[in-house]
Subunit: 488 residues, 2 copies
């Protein structure tokens, strides 16, 4: 539905200015509240060429404190998104709590024809799935998202193009693509309507008739004010537990039943190590040639041997082709965003490998057990993570996740060995011992995690790791076979 | 001087392997020390095409823990450096304390012909100045920098190109530029020799004869081991005060003598505000058209009116063309780098404006007064900052710095007003009152700062700010006039 135009056509300029001033003052007041209440706000502008997105954004920010918002154009997004899943460029620009991010064209402009790629119907379905999941994730995390779509008619657009072209200073703003849009206006309109329909349920669109600039401006201000007011009101009323918080996973104890004692002879180890390392080395060049990105996730008990395992995997790889990303506790800045935010900056470029030494799965393990997030938050995280990995998969990322499994006795042996070796003492601290005491709790969390996020596109591989050599070969072999399979 | 080749030509493969193993073990041991002692290490590889940089880097990282180093190729650097001063891409990749950054080609490859631009002799001089300052800054901050240059003869290069071309899998690695380098080998050699001469004094080069790969590998390991050992030894001996720590600036009291009471009538204010805002708006489009970047720095006493001043400056600008960057206390990650590190990520792209609400000048004010850095560190900062701004200037950045001056009475009035206004109470806290008590100390620091960093290319403008309206017009007018001047 198009919003009705607000001021009467014959209202005087002064009346308009007066109304504007009132709305602007209100917005400034709300902006301060948004800041104090730590609400992250996202405002996006989509619409036909020459519908006036730029000047509307100018109007929007005019009364705002320039230290509290950032405006992003597509050029800025592309810079960070080159050769990566397209949402990376947007995820990394989602606002910190209390800040406002304004997008002059958004993720929708990438999915539309004339955007990054012409999409097949499969790709289109993936696109809508990913975009809806993206917005849902942000909404669940407390973001306020306001989406505008600016309409002008075919005739109005033609008139505006002509006017821009008549003026020497603005001529450059009209290009062949714009005229093509005008010629195919009806087709484009249908596309836009489909887009709006498919992405209106989580997070509704506000459509603005942009023919009259004053009325468009008033509608924009009123919409933003109303949405912020609703958001503030919602936060002040007591929270109702979400349905997900009522769900409970029944542990089956399957992890306990896995025997982590698998053996390999030293001879066989040396032979297979060389064999698979050499294969992996060659496959990485092929990966680069075919521009396929790879993500490997290492999770496991403390002292399960992640470091040494990663070392053997990468030892002979071209160091320009991979990066190992150690994941520690989040920084203050990272904490003021959605927990997935910090990982979107680290996902690999096409043709490269990113190896995560611990990862986003911290959300459903340490953050869950230690109470760093709410029950609702970690329960929601399973589907958030699945959506995230599914977006990576849609872009062509090969994802493999390894759980390094040892038993409690083995861990104790390794902890003690670390305590006794002066070169390794730095690898063990009080926290490790405290975590060890919570073995049962962690076991339950790990089981649930492995179950809930074991997808076809990003499967978990349980690696029996009491014997480090066996574990290294198992991972190497698995990586080699998967890459061979995928690169055929 | 070329390092003498180490193992005798007739040494057996086994002897080489044995020696290699010893060196690798030593390196691993030292890497752990580097980590424990928080030493940031930079290792760069330059040299002729096909001299074997890539395979040498492979050898280097082979024994290392992959979680402690990152390898950067030029492609990764360019990604972050597009349309920015060329050192931005490298500054942002300098390692955190205890980590190792390895560069496959470095800042030297940008300055060389065939790099980003063909340099005039003036540009060349700027380039060497900037690179030497960059390395000096990092050395002073405790970075260990190891620079390798790999030599091969003209004949050897030709042979290697041919060999690469014979093999179908490696053919793509030789391009026309490579053959051109070979044809102009003598000229290129001269250029490289000049480069090495001009950048050898702060931070010496290790030149390696790369004909024999084994000997090159051994030399590389030995050099790195030796340099790390020296660095560790130096850190263990007591520090001698550097000459800069003995220098002392004599305050002249000029700041106290400035009368911050300058008046403007409300009528004149309204008129000039609109006039200069409109001019600024237009100039920003011209800036974009001419691809000139601008940096504006706001510093001043607490409650001097920075926020409101920035607001009036940006109010009518196209929000896609500028960004306001509020600078707060550094994060833990930022603290583990050179203090300028965090700013290199924020410098504007060509054609854009970055407005810093507080800045790198915190080093010589709050960090100095509160003892967050050593005397040597803040004293050194003046020339570091001048070098940084000079690098920006060499790239074409227009830099303006504003000091907003109010007197103690005015500050008290504003603090009290903030305390009384519920909407503004969040703008004042205990720290502000504490800082106020240190007015004299700050005054001395500010004076010294304004004196030591008031350069022709990045001048300070003192803005009398007891009257906010006067201050706003003064800044706006200054920005407009400077841009008009620069964009002629």
């Amino acid at each position: 539905m198009l919003e009705s135009t607000v001021p009467k056509k014959n209202s005087s300029k002064d009346a308009y200015k007066k109304q504007l001033k009132i709305l602007q003052n209100k917005l400034v007041e709300l902006q301060q509240k948004v800041c104090q209440m730590n609400i992250p706000v996202i405002i996006t502008f989509e619409g036909f060429s020459a519908s006036g997105k730029g000047s509307l954004i100018g109007k929007l920010v005019y009364p705002l404190d320039p230290r509290t918002f950032t405006v992003y154009t597509m050029a800025k997004v592309y810079e960070d998104a080159q050769l990566r899943p397209f949402l990376c460029g947007f995820w990394t620009k989602t606002p910190a709590k209390g800040r406002i991010a304004i997008f002059d064209k958004s993720w929708y402009s990438i999915g539309q024809s004339g955007g990054l790629y012409n999409l097949s119907s499969r790709e289109k379905a993936n696109f809508y799935y990913d975009v809806n999941a993206f917005e849902k994730n942000l909404l669940d995390d407390g973001n306020l998202i306001i989406k505008f779509f600016l309409h002008i008619s075919k005739e109005e657009q033609r008139e505006r193009f002509k006017q821009l072209e008549r003026n020497e200073e603005t001529r450059w703003r009209v290009n062949e693509g714009d005229w093509e849009q005008n010629r195919n206006y009806e087709k484009k309109l249908k596309e836009y309507q489909q887009m709006i329909r498919k992405t209106d349920s989580n997070c509704e669109w506000t459509q603005i008739n942009a023919k009259d600039k004053r009325s468009a401006t008033i509608t924009m201000y009123k919409t933003i004010i109303e949405k912020i007011e609703v958001e503030i009101k919602n936060r002040q009323s007591p929270a109702v537990p979400s349905p997900t918080e009522l769900r409970s996973y029944k542990p089956t104890g399957f992890l306990k039943k896995i025997n982590p004692n698998c053996e390999i002879s030293s001879e066989k180890y040396e032979k297979e190590l060389e064999y698979y390392q050499e294969k992996a080395r060659k496959l990485c060049y092929k990966l680069y040639e075919k521009r396929r990105p790879v993500i490997l996730v290492y999770e496991g008990w403390d002292a399960a041997g992640k470091g040494g395992n990663i070392k053997r995997l990468t030892e002979r790889l071209d160091p320009r082709g991979y990066e190992v990303i150690p994941v520690a506790a989040p920084s203050k800045e990272e904490l003021s965003h959605h927990y997935l935010w910090r990982f979107y900056n680290k996902f690999p470029k096409d043709g490269h490998i990113a190896i995560f030494d611990r990862s986003w799965y911290g959300r459903v393990m340490v953050e869950r057990i230690e109470g760093f997030c709410t029950t609702g938050e970690w329960q929601r995280a399973y589907s958030e993570i699945n959506d995230c990995e599914s977006h990576l998969f849609h872009h062509g990322v090969i994802i493999l996740k390894f759980w390094l499994q040892i038993d409690q006795d083995e861990q104790l042996k390794r902890f003690n060995a670390r305590m006794e070796n002066p070169l390794k003492q730095h690898k063990i601290n009080d926290e490790d011992w405290r975590n060890r005491e919570k073995w049962e709790q962690y076991e339950e969390a790990v089981e649930e995690m492995l179950t809930m996020t074991n997808t076809k596109i990003a499967p978990w591989v349980i690696v029996e790791s009491n014997n480090k050599k066996y574990a290294r070969i198992k991972v190497l072999k698995h990586v080699v076979e998967t890459l061979e399979n995928q690169l055929q």
